[in-house]
C-alpha cells in the first residue's frame, strides 16, 4: 500500500516526535510513505490572511506535485496542514476555471483529483492490522482529543461525526485501550494564541481539557494535532498554575500510543522530547466477561 | 402436393370443413390464395417454397365466415397469425383447422390453439434474417440519414392501403384512417398524410405484428413498409418481452404494465 506523505513544517521542527512515530508505525503496518518531492509550506498560519491567490497557489502547488508523482491520495498528519490542503482539494475539485487560473500561477497542470486524508482517516483503514500487531495490550483509560480541524468544517474534512467523533476511540480500542466518555473531545485548546500572545487564555482553555481528562481518570490524552499537543503538553506549568493542580497526565500522539502498543522502542517514537514525562502505569488486568445465562425454567 | 389435395378432398367430402383456404398457381408462376369448396377446387391446391403469403387475414372476412368452418393451409406466419387472432378474440377456439405440410410431405392437422402453440414453439424466430439485417443496417445510419431514407420511401406511397388490406392483424371494420370526426390522419397521400398513416399503423401493430412481411410484399410501389411494423414489434419484445403470435392467451404489451418498466428519457 502506497500513499503520498506531506509532513509540513511542524513535523520537521517542533513536532519531530510526531513525524518519527508516524514513520515508525507506518513501517510496522507496511504502508510506504512517499514524501511529495519539493513540497512547500501549506500557508497554514498566515497565508490565507495575506491573500487568497497566494494561499491557493501554495496549496495547489503541493497537490500538483503529488499528482505529478502519481499520488492520488496524500496523508497530512498535522491537522492544520490537513485542513489547508483538503480545503484546496475540495475547492478545486469541480471548478475547472479556478484550476486553469491557479495552474498558470504555479506553472503546473492540476486535474483536481487528489484527495487529502488526516492521520485518523488513514489509521482507520488498518484497525485489524493494529489489533493483530498489538504485543502488550495498551489497556489504559485514555482520553481521545480530536481538536477542531480534524472533523470540521464538514464540507472540507468530510470525516467522522462532528459532535461526538468516534474514529480515534475505535483506533485506540483496537489496541485494547478503553477510551473514556468525556465532553471535551472537540473543545478548543487555544491554538494560535498559545505561544506568542495570550498564554493565559491557553492555560484556561487547555486547562479545562486537562482537568476533564484527569477527572475521568484517563492515563493519557491522545491527540493527532501538533498544535493541540503543544498547548496541552508545553503549557502544562501555566495550566497547573491556573488550576492550582499538579496534573501530570501525559499527552501522546495517536501514533506514539500505537507504537507503544506494538512494542516499538519509545526512543524511536520520540517520547523523550515531551515536556510532561511519559510515565504510564501498568496496564489494567484482563476482565473476563461471561454472557448472562437466561434462567431456564 | 397430392397428400394435401387428397386431405382437402376428404375433409370437404366428409363435411368436416366447408372451405379449404390454400394456394394455387397464378399469372406467370405466382402463388395466389385459393378457396377450395369442391373436389375440383381441391385439385388446384398447391404447396411449395413459393407459398409465403399469409392467408390468415381471410379468416376474419365476412364472405369467408359465411361459408362455415374453414381449414387453412398454414405456413409459419399463418400459424402465428392464428394464435394472435385467437388472443384478440377474432377466432373462436377450434374454429379453424390448420393444415401444415411438413418437409417429409405429410399433412399435420392442428385443430386447437394448444396444438398450434406447440407447433409455433418449434419454429425459428418470426423476423427473417434478411429483415433483421435490414433493420440493423437502418439503425446503424445516423438520424438524418434515416429521416432521408424514410422520407424518400414514404413519398412514393399512393395510399392504396394494400399493406393494410393484406395484413392479417388489420381486421378492423372501421380503421382510424376511416374516421373523419375527427380526421385524425389526412386522407391525401401527400408527405404528411403518408408519414402519419404509417406511424399510426406501426404503433397499432406494436406488440401485435407477427412479422410475416406480407405488407412489404403487397406494396405495389415496392416500399419496404414491413420494416416499420417489424421494428415496432422488435421494440416491444426488447422492452417488454411479450412476443406476438406465440400464445392464444397473450396479454397485449401496451394494454398492461409493470411498475418497474425501465426507461431513461423521462425527466
Amino acid at each position: 500500500m502506497r500513499i503520498g506523505y506531506y509532513p509540513g513544517c511542524s513535523l520537521t521542527s517542533s513536532a519531530r516526535e510526531y513525524d518519527e512515530s508516524v514513520r515508525a508505525v507506518c513501517e510496522m503496518l507496511d504502508l510506504t510513505l512517499v514524501e511529495i518531492p519539493d513540497w512547500n509550506c501549506c500557508g497554514a498560519s498566515s497565508a490565507h490572511v495575506a491573500g487568497a491567490e497566494l494561499a491557493l497557489g501554495l496549496r495547489a502547488r503541493n497537490l500538483a506535485l503529488a499528482e505529478a508523482a502519481g499520488l492520488d491520495e496524500i496523508l497530512a498528519p498535522c491537522a492544520a496542514c490537513f485542513n489547508r490542503l483538503a480545503s484546496a482539494s475540495v475547492e478545486l475539485a469541480d471548478a475547472p476555471d479556478k484550476r486553469q487560473a491557479v495552474s498558470e500561477v504555479i506553472g503546473m497542470p492540476y486535474s483536481g483529483k487528489v484527495r487529502v486524508l488526516n492521520m485518523l482517516a488513514v489509521l482507520e483503514r488498518f484497525k485489524d492490522q493494529i489489533a493483530a500487531k498489538t504485543e502488550q495490550s495498551f489497556r489504559h483509560k485514555v482520553a481521545c482529543y480530536y481538536g477542531c480541524l480534524l472533523v470540521r468544517p464538514t464540507k472540507v474534512a468530510q470525516f467522522d461525526r462532528v459532535e461526538d467523533p468516534q474514529s480515534m476511540d475505535q483506533i485506540m480500542a483496537a489496541t485494547g485501550a478503553k477510551p473514556v466518555r468525556w465532553s471535551s473531545k472537540t473543545e478548543c485548546c487555544g491554538t494560535g494564541l498559545s505561544t506568542i500572545t495570550r498564554t493565559e487564555l491557553v492555560a484556561n482553555l487547555s486547562g479545562r481539557i486537562v482537568a476533564d481528562a484527569a477527572k475521568r481518570e484517563a492515563v493519557a490524552i491522545i491527540t493527532a494535532c501538533p498544535m493541540c499537543q503543544t498547548n496541552l503538553d508545553m503549557r502544562r506549568p501555566e495550566i497547573n498554575q491556573k488550576l492550582q493542580q499538579k496534573h501530570r497526565i501525559p499527552v501522546l500522539y495517536v501514533t506514539q500510543a500505537l507504537g507503544l502498543a506494538m512494542g516499538i522502542d519509545p526512543q524511536r517514537l520520540g517520547l523523550q522530547r515531551h515536556m510532561v514525562p511519559v510515565e504510564l502505569p501498568e496496564p489494567e488486568p484482563e476482565v473476563v466477561t461471561t454472557d448472562d445465562d437466561d434462567d431456564e425454567d | 402436393m397430392d397428400v394435401l389435395r387428397n386431405k382437402a378432398r376428404d375433409l370437404l367430402a366428409q363435411g368436416q370443413v366447408q372451405v379449404v383456404i390454400g394456394y394455387e398457381a397464378g399469372t406467370s408462376g405466382a402463388r395466389r390464395p385459393s378457396f377450395a369448396r369442391s373436389e375440383a377446387d381441391a385439385a388446384r391446391l398447391m404447396w411449395d417454397a413459393d407459398c409465403v403469403g399469409n392467408l390468415a387475414g381471410y379468416l376474419t372476412r365476412p364472405e369467408i365466415k359465411k361459408m362455415g368452418k374453414a381449414a387453412i393451409v398454414a405456413n409459419a406466419a399463418t400459424l402465428r397469425a392464428l394464435l394472435q387472432l385467437t388472443a384478440e378474440h377474432q377466432l373462436a377456439e377450434g374454429a379453424v383447422l390448420a393444415l401444415v405440410v411438413t418437409e417429409e410431405g405429410a399433412v399435420l392437422e392442428l385443430s386447437n390453439a394448444q396444438a398450434v402453440t406447440e407447433q409455433v414453439a418449434t419454429l425459428p424466430s418470426s423476423l427473417s434474417a434478411a429483415d433483421r439485417e435490414k433493420l440493423e443496417r437502418l439503425m446503424a445510419l445516423s438520424r438524418e440519414e434515416r429521416r432521408a431514407f424514410w422520407e424518400q420511401e414514404l413519398q412514393r406511397c399512393v395510399k392504396c392501403y394494400a399493406c393494410r388490406s393484406s395484413c392479417p392483424m388489420c381486421y378492423c371494420g372501421s380503421c382510424t384512417m376511416d374516421c373523419n370526426r375527427p380526421q385524425w390522419v389526412p386522407v391525401a397521400s401527400h408527405e404528411l398524410g403518408n408519414l402519419e398513416y404509417h406511424t399510426v399503423r406501426a404503433m397499432h401493430l406494436a406488440g401485435r405484428c407477427v412479422q410475416c412481411g406480407e405488407c412489404g410484399r403487397a406494396c405495389p410501389v415496392g416500399i419496404p413498409i414491413h420494416l416499420l411494423t417489424c421494428y415496432a414489434e422488435e421494440s416491444v419484445r426488447r422492452q417488454f418481452g411479450q412476443p406476438a403470435g406465440t400464445s392464444a392467451t397473450l396479454n397485449y404489451a401496451l394494454g398492461n404494465f409493470r411498475p418497474d418498466d425501465q426507461e431513461s428519457f423521462i425527466r
Binding site: - | R146, E151, Y231
Partner: protein, 146 residues
C-alpha cells in the same frame, strides 16, 4: 413576437391531477416562465394518444411536452404506467423513422412541484430556441401536393 428572435411554439399535454395542478401552483407562487407553451388539459397521461403529439407537430409546434403524475402517484392508479409504455415504444419508433426526438419532452411533475414546472418550461423553451424552427417536419406540411 419579436421578429428577429425565434420564438418556438410549444404544445403541452398535461394530466389534470398532477402537472396541471403543479402549473397552477407555479401560478399561485408567482414563479415566472416563458410564454411559448400552450397547455392542453387531459384527465390523465393515459389519455394522451400518440396521435395527439403527431397532430401537434402537424399544427406547426416546434416542441411538445407531455407530463403527468410520477409513477405510483397517478390519481387513476395506473394511467401513467400505461403512458410510459406507449412513450417507450413511440420514442423508439420515432427514433427509427429518424424524427427529431429532442423536440419531445416526457416528464413527471407532481402537484407540489410548481418550481419544477417553471424550470422545465424554461429549459425546453431555451433548448428549442437553440434548435430553431422544426423545418424538417414543417417542410412536410404541403410537400407532395401538385
Amino acid at each position: 413576437m419579436a421578429d428577429d428572435v425565434f420564438e418556438p411554439k410549444i404544445t403541452a399535454f398535461v394530466c389534470n391531477w398532477c402537472t396541471y395542478a403543479g402549473a397552477d401552483l407555479t401560478g399561485t407562487s408567482r414563479l415566472k416562465y416563458q410564454s411559448n407553451v400552450r397547455i392542453i388539459r387531459l384527465p390523465c397521461t393515459g389519455r394522451v394518444d400518440f396521435m395527439l403529439i403527431q397532430k401537434a407537430f402537424a399544427r406547426g409546434s416546434d416542441g411538445v411536452i407531455v407530463s403527468g403524475c410520477h409513477p405510483n402517484d397517478c390519481h387513476y392508479t395506473s394511467g401513467n404506467y400505461h403512458a410510459r409504455r406507449r412513450w417507450m415504444v413511440f420514442n423508439d419508433l420515432m427514433e427509427f423513422m429518424g424524427l427529431d426526438m429532442r423536440r419531445i419532452t416526457f416528464s413527471w411533475v407532481s402537484a407540489a412541484e410548481g418550481a419544477k414546472w417553471a424550470t422545465l418550461v424554461n429549459e425546453v423553451t431555451d433548448h428549442l430556441r437553440e434548435l430553431g424552427p422544426y423545418t424538417e417536419y414543417q417542410r412536410l406540411l404541403n410537400a407532395g401536393v401538385a
